[in-house]
Symmetry: C2
Amino acid sequence: MSTLDRPYHHGDLRAALLDAADALLDEGGDGAVSLREAARRAGVSPTAAYRHFADKTALLAALAARHFAQFGQALGGRSFDAMGPAYVRFALERPGRFRLMFGPLLRAAQTDPALQAASAAAFQALRQAAPDEASALRAWAMVHGLAHLLLDGALPGSNDPDAVLARVLPG
Amino acid sequence: MSTLDRPYHHGDLRAALLDAADALLDEGGDGAVSLREAARRAGVSPTAAYRHFADKTALLAALAARHFAQFGQALGGRSFDAMGPAYVRFALERPGRFRLMFGPLLRAAQTDPALQAASAAAFQALRQAAPDEASALRAWAMVHGLAHLLLDGALPGSNDPDAVLARVLPG
């Protein structure tokens, strides 16, 4: 252990590194996340951080798994119609998390079992509420596209989320 | 004119700069586009390039206006049902152009009249084919989301465009 390392109880450092990485993500997007900077913010050496995450991909996968759990909570217990606005609002409130969860950076981590389990659990509510698989995929694509168009300010005219959601997903 | 400047006929340098910027976009995404590098590829000095584009935003706006014209051609003359797959295929064939056209970088250029006219013309076909504005927006959001999910490899299971399109947008 380097002299700069803060003392952590067993397991707490992993959570502290994830919290630090989340802050980096919310501040600067997924390009701003690095294991080295997360370690610095948690007050430990890079070597201590590497004991918990083999590389940046492992860190991002663990981060996204946490986000999918939050996402599942945001969607869960809602009617099919109420899931769409909840999906879009989740994306608008935490753009960095949304872009990481569905973005190209996570491709390298797609076989991570914890990430797969977390994303499958998050989408179970959507799957169960939809009449069939194709309808679930269409609904997902629509709210995903709406989230991107609103995040990127790409709609002609108003990009006010409330106004757009009321028009596109009434009821 | 600097000694490194290639001789161009009046108006041709503008097109040559846009061609060079398009190549940069296709190679490295919108982060790879710069007026300086486009000038270098066109064989002229940055000063010569600045005579055509005040800054990078002006270059990106002119580039996106060209893309919206291509995009309008890709959608035009199709039935409403056939527009969805055409939209998704345009995105998958030229991801850099798609991400520029609808991405956050273009926000600064949203009041550019040529860009506004080009994007309005491109969407006119979609608007005319849809039964009403809200349906047009829902259809747009769905194919936009599908394009992003496929581009980012975010769908669980197969991300093969043909298979996914056949399931989600049959007919």
